[in-house]
C-alpha cells in the first residue's frame, strides 16, 4: 500500500524503482531520527545546568499583548528568570493540562477551567486566583462606513452589516459573553443569522480585520492594543449586559519551580501588574 502511494506521488510506476525509493526513504528517515535524538540529548544538559530558570505559561488569547508587557516588566526585576508564554484558547489548554501538559502556570479566560483542574487534583485546593475582568467591545475596521461609536449596539442592525463575528459561545468565554449581551440588548433575534464563529477571540478579530466580516464583538484588550488599535474603531459594550468575564489562573501541581511561578503570580496581582492590565482594558475583580 505504502509503496504504491509513494510511487504515485513520485510519478514512478515500476516496482523495483519503488523498492529502491522506499529503501532510500527509510535510510533518510533513520538518519534524521538519529540526528534529532543526538541534538535532543545535547540540548537537555546545558538547560538543566544553567543558572537561568524557565517558567512556562499557558495564557488565554486575550492576554496576547498585555501579558507581553507584564512579562517584560517582571523580567527586568528578575533577570535570571526566562518566561515562555504560549497563547491559545482556554478550553484547549484545559484539555492539554488534564493530560499534564508541561506548563507551570495557567492563566485562563475564566474561573471555571482553573477550578476544574483543582477538582481533578492537578493543583492545590483553593489556589485559584482571579487576576482580571475582561471587557467586550463592538469593533469595526477603520474603513468601515458604520459609525459604531455613535450607534452603539444598533450598529449591528446597520443595513451594510452582512456578517457579524463573535467567538464560539460553546467554549470561548468571550463568545458566551457576546451571545449574552446580544440577547440582553434585544438584538439577538435580528442578527443571529449573520453570526460567524471564531475559534478564539484572536481569530474573531481576524475575521473582522481581514474584511471577511463587517463587524465583530472582540475583547477590549485586543481592540486597545497594537496592531488592532490603529486599524479600527470600537464601542464598549455595557458591562451589565453580560456575565462578568472574570479571568482566573492556577499554578499546576507539577510546576518545576513553584517559587518562581508564585513570584510571577504575585507580580500579576500586584501594583505594576494591575496597572498594565488596566492599560489594556482589563478591570480588577470586585471593581
Amino acid at each position: 500500500m505504502i509503496i504504491r502511494w509513494t510511487q504515485l506521488i513520485a510519478g514512478r510506476s515500476r516496482s523495483d524503482e519503488g523498492l529502491v525509493l522506499r529503501a532510500r526513504l527509510v535510510r533518510v528517515v533513520l538518519v534524521i531520527l538519529a540526528g534529532l535524538s543526538a541534538t535532543a540529548a545535547g540540548c537537555q544538559r546545558p538547560a538543566q545546568a544553567a543558572d537561568t530558570r524557565t517558567l512556562r505559561v499557558a495564557a488565554a488569547a486575550d492576554l496576547k499583548v498585555a501579558l507581553a508587557d507584564i512579562v517584560a516588566a517582571f523580567q527586568r526585576q528578575n533577570p535570571d528568570v526566562k518566561v515562555e508564554v504560549t497563547y491559545g484558547s482556554s478550553g484547549n489548554f484545559y484539555s492539554q493540562l488534564s493530560s499534564r501538559a508541561p506548563f507551570d502556570l495557567f492563566l485562563s479566560a475564566d474561573l471555571d477551567y482553573p477550578r476544574r483542574l483543582i477538582e481533578q487534583g492537578l493543583a492545590t485546593p483553593n489556589s485559584e486566583f482571579s487576576y482580571a475582568v475582561g471587557g467586550l467591545v463592538l469593533w469595526v475596521r477603520k474603513a468601515s462606513p458604520i459609525p459604531v461609536d455613535k450607534l452603539g449596539i444598533e450598529a449591528l442592525l446597520d443595513h451594510s452589516v452582512r456578517r457579524i463575528a463573535i467567538a464560539n459561545p460553546r467554549h470561548a468565554p468571550y463568545g458566551r459573553a457576546a451571545e449574552a449581551a446580544l440577547k440582553k440588548l434585544g438584538v439577538y433575534e435580528n442578527v443571529k443569522d449573520k453570526l460567524v464563529y471564531g475559534e478564539n477571540i484572536i481569530q474573531t478579530a481576524q475575521f473582522v480585520e481581514s474584511g471577511a466580516a463587517d463587524i465583530g464583538l472582540i475583547s477590549h484588550s485586543l481592540a486597545t492594543a497594537a496592531p488592532l488599535r490603529d486599524e479600527g474603531r470600537s464601542w464598549e459594550v455595557p458591562a451589565d449586559s453580560y456575565p462578568a468575564l472574570e479571568q482566573g489562573g492556577v499554578i499546576l501541581s507539577w510546576a518545576q519551580d513553584r517559587q518562581t511561578a508564585e513570584a510571577l503570580r504575585n507580580f500579576i496581582l500586584g501594583g505594576s501588574g494591575k496597572e498594565i492590565l488596566h492599560r489594556y482594558g482589563f478591570r480588577s475583580s470586585g471593581e
Binding site: 500500500m1 509503496i3 504504491r4 502511494w5 510511487q7 504515485l8 506521488i9 513520485a10 510519478g11 514512478r12 510506476s13 515500476r14 516496482s15 519503488g18 484558547s89 478550553g91 484547549n92 484545559y94 484539555s95 452582512r162 456578517r163 463575528a165 464560539n168 460553546r170 467554549h171 453570526l195 460567524v196 464563529y197 471564531g198 475559534e199 481569530q203 481576524q206 475575521f207 481581514s210 474584511g211 471577511a212 466580516a213
Partner: protein, 220 residues
C-alpha cells in the same frame, strides 16, 4: 452524533472531487504529455498545498476571496453574494487544498501509459479527444480512482482551512472535523468520540476502495 455536519462534509467532499475530476484530468494529461521546458514550475505549484500549513493557506484564501480583494468584489458583483463563510467559498478552498492529492496520482497514471497504445489509436483515425476517453482513461483508471479517493478523503478530514474560511455556521460551514473539534473544546468528549469513529470508518472504507486491486498479474 452530528448528522448535519456529516452530510455537509460528504456533500463538500463529493463536489470537490467532481470539480477536481473535471479540471484535474485535462491538466494532468497535459502535464504528463507536454515537453514544455518550464513544466517543472507548474508541477511545483500544483504540489504547494501539500507543504503550506492549512491555517496559513486558509488565511490567504480568506483574504483572497474577501470583499477587500478584486476577486471577491468581482464574484459579489456577478453572483450577488459573498464568498467567505459560504458553502461555495468552502468548496473553492477545498479544491485548492486537495488539488495535489488528485492531480499527482492522475499525472503518475498517465505517465505510465504505453505510448504505442495512444499512437495506434491515432493511426486508426481516432481523434485525440476520443482517444483520451476510450484509450487513455480506461488504461489508467486505477490511478484516476486513487486520485479521486484521496481527494475525497482529504476533503473529508480537512480542518485548518475550513477553520479559517468557514466561520463555523451550522449546516453551511460546520464540517465534520470542525464539529468534532467543537465538541472536544466544549469538553463533550463522548459525542466527539462517536463522530470521530464514524469519520474513521468512512475514511477507512474510502481508502480500502482506493487500494483494492483484483488479484491478477501485476507486480505490485
Amino acid at each position: 452524533m452530528d448528522f448535519e455536519a456529516i452530510w455537509l462534509s460528504l456533500r463538500l467532499a463529493f463536489f470537490t472531487t467532481l470539480i477536481l475530476l473535471v479540471i484535474g484530468l485535462p491538466l494532468a494529461y497535459w502535464l504528463a504529455e507536454t515537453r514544455w521546458r518550464l513544466k517543472f514550475l507548474l508541477e511545483a505549484a500544483v504540489a504547494l498545498p501539500i507543504i503550506l500549513p492549512p491555517t496559513v493557506l486558509g488565511f490567504y484564501i480568506l483574504v483572497a476571496i474577501g470583499p477587500q480583494s478584486p476577486f471577491g468584489q468581482g464574484y459579489e458583483a456577478i453572483v450577488g453574494r459573498q464568498l467567505p463563510f459560504s458553502f461555495e467559498g468552502l468548496l473553492l478552498a477545498s479544491v485548492i487544498y486537495s488539488f495535489p492529492f488528485a492531480v499527482r496520482p492522475f499525472v503518475a497514471a498517465f505517465s505510465g501509459i504505453e505510448r504505442r497504445l495512444i499512437e495506434a489509436s491515432w493511426c486508426l483515425g481516432v481523434s485525440q479527444f476520443r482517444t483520451f476517453f476510450r484509450v487513455v482513461c480506461p488504461v489508467s483508471w486505477p490511478g484516476i480512482l486513487t486520485g479521486l479517493v484521496l481527494a475525497f478523503a482529504h476533503t473529508l478530514g480537512e480542518f485548518g482551512v475550513v477553520l479559517m474560511v468557514g466561520g463555523n455556521i451550522p449546516g453551511v460551514t460546520r464540517t465534520i472535523s470542525i464539529a468534532i473539534y467543537d465538541d472536544v473544546e466544549a469538553l463533550n468528549y463522548a459525542k466527539a468520540a462517536n463522530t470521530s469513529l464514524l469519520l474513521l470508518g468512512v475514511s477507512f472504507l474510502a481508502l480500502s476502495v482506493a487500494y483494492f486491486r483484483p488479484l491478477k498479474g501485476g507486480a505490485i
